[in-house]
Point group: C2
Chain length 107, copies 2
């Protein structure tokens, strides 16, 4: 499994993390990733009516902001929410957002 | 004082709020507004090296997401962070972000 580039924990910054969370599709993908460790992109996006190219862009934004790790596993890409890094770098931020994202049905 | 249009408390949505917070300039303006109630736009942006047209756009994004109220007071615009609305709608969200934004010096 080959990991794709991502920022180190200590260089995670608050504004890009909030930006990466500030989209209904990305918020839902992060929420799903939080309950499905090491799932593939395809599984996490299952049932979402979003074009593949848009999804690819969303994953990139989340990876570059440090929300997720992404590894290439053959033809699949596996996603892991960087929960430990986010909790360490931004105490008190991730869990309220995951909780609030749960019933959020707007777009 | 004439209030500018803004979303009602019950229609605030998480993703647009996070998006509005997901920019270093907006994050700093929100942090300043949290400690300077009813300050003018000009006072809040004091010392920030950002063009006026960009600032105007930032204030609009924050108002439309429901982060701030803006009132026209003659030639001035006064800003109020909608802290009560945000705490009511998104419990546990605002205060960690204000705390984490404090030492955040990146851009």
């Amino acid at each position: 499994m080959r990991p794709l580039p991502q920022p180190a924990r200590e260089s995670l910054a608050l504004a890009p993390v909030l930006h990466a969370l500030g989209d209904p599709v990305r918020l839902e993908l992060v929420r799903r990733a939080s309950t499905s460790p090491e799932a593939t992109c395809a599984v996490l996006a299952d049932g979402m009516d979003v074009p593949l190219s848009t999804l690819t862009n969303h994953w990139r934004i989340m990876r570059e902001a440090g929300l997720i790790s992404m590894t290439a596993d053959g033809r699949h890409r596996r996603i892991r929410l960087r929960a430990d890094d986010l909790r360490d770098r931004f105490p008190g931020l991730l869990d309220p957002i995951l909780r609030l994202a749960e019933p959020e049905k707007d777009a």
